[in-house]
């Protein structure tokens, strides 16, 4: 069976790739396009490190077949900084020491972004729920929760 063409936008730029039947979105992002911000952790949906935003919705790229992404609009953590200026969530993760080994960070930031895009002023419980599918083995989660809440606060200050 021949390779299959797939086109989508990644962080605002058009991509057209020929993918193997069965390739996941994670494979294509990392190995074909070279965006290594989504991490290959468990590859079974249990760790959340491969999370990306597809058409505005948080998804696991490891369980998403690339062929199903035709025409989709995909956002990864690599696309968040603008003109060398970090996204408020990236800043907040640094400021709150919400990163140690860093492996879960891009997935966490995607989960947090999906939350804040929908709910700019979340409660602590809502933050906890939003990152429930993202496993972190280093921080104990508290600094991550703090970072998301502080990014939400700084967003609402800058929007005011």
């Amino acid at each position: 069976m021949a390779k299959v063409p797939v086109q989508f936008t990644l962080n605002g730029s058009e991509k057209a790739e020929f993918v193997e039947s069965g390739a996941t979105l994670l494979d294509v992002l990392r190995d074909k396009i070279g965006d290594t911000s989504p991490k290959a952790g468990c590859r079974q949906g249990t760790c959340g490190s491969c999370s990306v935003i597809v058409d505005g919705e948080l998804r696991l790229s490891c369980l998403t077949l690339a062929e199903t992404c035709e025409g989709a609009s995909i956002v990864t953590t690599a696309g968040l900084a603008e003109g060398g200026v970090l996204h408020p969530l990236q800043r907040a993760f640094m400021d709150a020491f919400a990163t140690q080994c860093g492996f879960c960070t891009p997935g966490m930031i995607m989960a947090a972004k999906a939350l804040l895009d929908r709910n700019p002023d979340p409660s602590r419980d809502e933050v906890v729920e939003a990152i429930a599918g993202n496993i972190c083995r280093c921080t104990g989660y508290e600094p991550i929760i703090e970072a998301v809440l502080s990014a939400a606060r700084s967003n609402s200050i800058s929007a005011a």
């Binding site: 949906g45 998804r59 369980l63 077949l65 062929e67 199903t68 906890v128 729920e129 939003a130």
Partner: protein, 347 residues
């Protein structure tokens, strides 16, 4: 992964025609199927994606009362749909107790009901597994039994059904609208599962919708799903219970009960419902109902603890149901309900 042809039909007839070919699988959210394909446990030659069939993704009222929940409605959409929150908030509670946001964003109604067992033997193509290859044996026999059933296990297979959503749906007498090339039929959700929990749907047939009967809404004010697991989120049920009561004049007019994590199928203990029906609700009554529900339970290896756990979870679910459905369904077991007072009660 075996190579496959990928189709995304826009019309039901096209989809049914495509699925008439051998070795075809329906692809819904893919959160279960793609993992099984990666492991080599599922090896379809063709995938028919349901994403192009728009009427599968809607929730609509039925002419005779009740609701039709499209097979491809995403779990996340089900859990926040205003009509579900009004008429069957227990479904939202069950869905929100399952998996994680990124999975619920993709996972669908029918995909959830038809997910494969999480049994290690089933997931390892090298292991003996009667569910995967009839007659090959059962790798889970001889294990510690943690994931094994205590009710309804068969000689061939002891794995429990992993779905949360199926538990309250079975309790509420949900039916399925099933389409095939020869037309459509309606079946009770309970009959979707064979004795060992495997799907009884013939190849090529499609679940179009889950039908919730009009009576279900009568339980909305007193219906709870309680799930016990080894951490407060993102884990399958060790045991779970759906308890739905209709109360009038201080009595239980009708009771619907189902258990999860204990049997190869979502388990509906009619004995427990009979104990509850017509009675005045008390702790003793709830304990008697739970005893009746678990009377036939038998441990496998070291899982005897599940029997007592299931009893207690059912008593607790009944107690919470009696207290009344809260206005805000808890997203996490650990998160607080809406503060008592104004608007704290459902409906």
């Amino acid at each position: 992964m075996r190579r496959f042809a990928y189709l995304r039909p826009a019309r039901l007839e096209e989809a049914l025609a495509a699925a008439a070919e051998p070795e075809t699988a329906w692809l819904a959210g893919g959160t279960n199927l793609v993992e099984l394909m990666k492991r080599g446990v599922a090896r379809p030659a063709r995938l028919v994606d349901l994403a192009g069939l728009e009427d599968l993704a809607t929730i609509t009222p039925l002419a005779a009362g009740g609701l039709s929940i499209g097979a491809a409605v995403r779990n996340a959409d089900l859990a926040r749909h205003p009509v579900i929150l009004r008429d069957a908030p227990i479904l939202a509670e069950a869905v929100l107790s399952a998996a994680a946001p990124q999975i619920r964003n993709r996972a669908t109604t029918a995909g959830n009901l038809l997910q494969a067992p999480r049994c290690a033997g089933f997931l390892d193509p090298g292991a003996a597994c009667n569910r995967r290859a009839a007659g090959s044996g059962c790798a889970a026999r001889g294990g510690d039994g943690r994931d094994a059933a205590v009710l309804g296990a068969t000689e061939a297979c002891i794995a429990v059904h992993p779905s949360d959503l199926a538990v309250p749906l079975v309790a509420l007498d949900a039916r399925l609208r099933v389409a095939g090339r020869d037309g459509e039929r309606t079946i009770a959700l309970g009959t979707l599962y064979g004795a060992d929990g495997a799907s009884t749907l013939p190849p090529g047939e499609l679940v179009r919708a889950v039908l919730l009967p009009a009576e279900a809404a009568g339980f909305a004010g007193h219906a709870r799903y309680l799930k016990l697991r080894e951490r407060t989120s993102f884990a399958f049920a060790l045991v779970s219970a759906a308890a739905a009561l209709r109360i009038a004049g201080g009595r239980i007019v009708a009771a619907r009960v189902a258990l999860g994590g204990v049997a190869p199928r979502p388990w509906r203990p009619a004995e427990a419902e009979a104990v509850l029906a017509g009675a005045v609700p008390t702790d003793a009554l709830f304990r008697a109902a739970a005893d009746a529900a678990l009377a036939a339970a038998r441990p496998i290896a070291e899982n005897g603890f599940k029997i007592e756990l299931a009893r207690r979870v059912l008593v607790r679910a009944l107690t919470l149901a009696l207290r009344g459905t809260p206005a805000r369904v808890p997203a996490l077991a650990a998160s607080p309900f809406a503060p008592a007072g104004e608007g704290a009660r459902h409906g």
